[in-house]
């Protein structure tokens, strides 16, 4: 009995071990495969632009296409700051306008974000803290106003700004961008502010703060993630905007980078490598911004999604 039963035990454990050993984690494999596929889908175009920006035009147009630059060069970037005669001819005005376009975009996007935060903070605080008749209707109206396609309102915008003498100016662009980013920033901040306990405001008031001191020293520092998320959203929107910039600007005084990048394709001689380099330069500021504030942006956008 003992002799026959003793060997059966290790065999059964070996069997179960073998069963575990051959189990293929399909679920895990599928998850990773999908994750990698979507990462490639999102990153491949960007990677292609980055690589193209370091190619010569001949390499960029070669057939079959090259993924890795055969003759890597920084000429496309150098051309923006100190163009050669040949580059001037190839890239036309767009080459010379890129640095100024970047500066214009920076000024307009930063100003839009700042103006958004100033106005949205006050509005969102009111919606978050004060109960007043019609607040829900107003909030919904703000959102509905954003359902109207930009192309529908661009002509009235153009006429109004022309009357005000704000065409082809920073202020004209900033005011325009603020009108369509403000509803979203108010919503983002309103939701974030509602997650901040009222007791903190009361504690600040008991601790001898007047309303402004309470807002400045307690409420806003605690709201940093929400403010950053809203600010970055406004910045990105202004940075990427094309249609309004096309209508409302016409000289390098206020032209933003999306318009200038598009100009590379409008010239008689399309220069893909210049366009790619300009695209990379255009991506850097918002990318840096997003990386710096990554943690705060996630916190800000996730506010209220979980109890906590």
């Amino acid at each position: 009995m003992t002799a026959t039963s003793a060997p059966t035990r290790p065999r059964s454990s070996a069997q179960s071990g073998a069963r575990i050993g051959v189990q293929i984690p399909w679920r895990l494999i599928a998850t990773y495969a999908l994750a990698i596929f979507f990462a490639c889908y999102l990153l491949a175009p960007f990677l292609w632009i980055v690589l193209t920006s370091f190619m010569t035009e001949a390499d960029a147009l070669s057939v079959p296409p090259q993924w890795i630059p055969a003759h890597p060069t920084l000429d496309n970037y150098a051309g923006f700051f100190n163009p050669t005669v040949e580059q001037r001819l190839q890239g036309s005005r767009a080459v010379e306008e890129t640095p100024r376009g970047l500066l214009n975009s920076m000024i307009v996007a930063f100003s839009t974000a700042l103006l958004n935060l100033c106005l949205a903070t006050l509005a969102a605080y009111s919606f978050a803290r004060i109960r007043f008749r019609g607040s829900q209707v107003l909030l919904m109206l703000y959102l509905v106003s954003r359902m109207v396609p930009g192309v529908v309102i661009i002509i009235p915008f153009f006429l109004v700004l022309r009357t005000l003498g704000l065409l082809d100016s920073y202020l004209g662009l900033i005011l325009s961008y603020t009108t369509f980013t403000l509803p979203f920033t108010i919503w983002i901040l309103k939701d974030y502010f509602r997650t901040i306990p009222r007791d903190l405001e009361d504690a600040a008031r008991v601790d001898r703060c007047n309303w402004l001191q309470m807002i400045w020293r307690v409420f806003l520092p605690i709201s940093a993630p929400g403010l950053v998320a809203a600010g970055v959203f406004a910045f990105m929107t202004a940075w990427n905007e094309f249609l309004f910039a096309l209508f409302l600007t016409n000289t390098i005084r206020s032209k933003t980078i999306p318009l200038i990048v598009a100009n590379f394709a409008n010239d008689l001689d399309v220069r893909f490598t210049f366009m790619a380099a300009a695209g990379v330069l255009a991506v850097i500021p918002p990318l840096v911004l997003a990386l710096i504030f990554q943690r705060l942006i996630v916190q800000g956008l996730a506010a209220g999604s979980v109890k906590g």
């Binding site: 007791d199 504690a203 008991v206």
Partner: protein, 374 residues
């Protein structure tokens, strides 16, 4: 520190009256507790004193000076919140010293006072941490530190122990009482926990439906409740109530209910006889009140004035709570830890006659509480 006077204060939120005509004087250096069930108006009263809510009517005085119109930052008060309300972006030291900074106290003095408060509360080693790095008990101490670092007219505490576990709560109760003794300041404390109110306070104000039902010392509240609500709210387990009628026989007053015929003490008899003395009541429907520790039970044959059946027993360690079925009514009795019984057993019970309470059936007011005990 200051004497705080509430003069007919009232607070109405649209159609709801949260605080209704409350008049109260909190003496200098007194520890007064506002106690009552949820929604009774105790926290609103505290917030009115703090200036965090506007009075609908009435006035609040600090040392005789009207402050009802002043915002919170102009009133000289310190407050501990139920949620602690620590500023998450500041360290413990910055949290404690924040009010002093806003009062433009010189930096060295802020550091000195912060260190002293931290030492008092045994949190000196936590000064550089942020609130999220602290346990519940430590956060509670920081919240207290933020209050005691001030030299305020009054210290308001809004259920500061309610977020702590039961063991820590009992420990902190004693700590708070000691803190009050050390500081000798005016403390106004809000809680729904009658045990906290009983153990810590010089006086207790029991609130219900926005009104102060009774304000007196803990023992007076316990032994001479002003009405049926106070009698039922203070004490754990609560007082037993038996509705019935009064009947006078041969000069003695008897309480009659299903299964009970109880002679009442002379004190209660006199209250019914002379209505002016104790609120008054003619023989008729009343409610008899008796605390569980005043119900004596015995398993001996023929013992006790009344008969009851054991419904359930709950051993508490130090004593045993026995729920008794007396006809339709259920009564609780507190017995010695050694007392043993079983559900369904018949028992004899006796009420401690001189500890009985009588309440008017219509409005619940206590009868005979102003007369001296017999």
């Amino acid at each position: 520190m200051a004497q705080v006077d509430l003069d007919k204060i009232r607070k109405q939120f649209s159609n709801v009256v949260a605080v209704d005509d409350v008049t109260l004087t909190i003496q200098e250096r007194e520890f007064l507790t506002l106690v009552g069930p949820s929604g009774c108006g105790k926290t609103t009263t505290l917030r009115l004193i703090a200036g965090l809510e506007r009075l609908t009517s009435g006035q609040i005085y600090f040392d005789g000076v009207a402050v009802g119109h002043q915002p919170a930052n102009r009133r000289d008060i310190a407050m501990v919140f139920q949620s602690y309300a620590l500023y998450p972006h500041m360290t413990v030291a910055e949290n404690i010293g924040f009010a002093l900074k806003m009062m433009r106290v010189p930096k060295p003095e802020i550091q000195q006072r912060t260190a002293r408060a931290a030492e008092m509360l045994d949190i000196a080693h936590l000064l550089e941490r942020r609130p999220k790095q602290l346990s519940g008990g430590q956060r509670q101490r920081v919240a207290l530190g933020r209050a005691i670092v001030r030299d305020a007219a009054a210290y308001l505490l809004d259920e500061p122990l309610s977020n702590l576990d039961a063991k820590l709560r009992v420990f902190m109760r004693a700590e708070l009482k000691k803190l009050h003794l050390d500081l000798q300041k005016t403390f106004i404390y809000v809680t729904h926990d009658q045990a906290e109110a009983m153990t810590m306070s010089d006086r207790i104000a029991v609130m219900h439906e926005g009104r102060v039902q009774q304000c007196a010392s803990p023992l007076e509240i316990y032994n001479q409740p002003a009405n049926q609500f106070v009698a039922g709210f203070m004490g754990s387990p609560p007082m037993n109530f038996i509705p019935g009628e009064l009947q006078r026989e041969d000069g003695d007053l008897f309480f009659l209910a299903s299964g009970i015929r109880q002679r009442l003490p002379a004190r209660l008899s006199a209250a019914v006889a002379c209505p002016d003395a104790g609120g008054g009541a003619s023989p008729g429907p009343v409610v008899l009140g008796v605390r569980p520790e005043d119900v004596k039970i015995s398993t001996a044959n023929g013992a006790g004035d009344h008969r009851a059946t054991v419904f359930v027993e709950e051993p508490m360690g130090a004593d045993v709570l026995v729920t008794l079925s007396l006809d339709a009514a259920l009564l609780k009795a507190r017995a010695d830890a050694e007392f043993r019984t079983r559900p369904g057993q018949n028992l004899g019970l006796t009420f401690a006659e001189h500890k009985l309470h009588l309440f008017a059936a219509d409005d619940g007011r206590a009868l005979g509480r102003d007369l001296p005990p017999a």
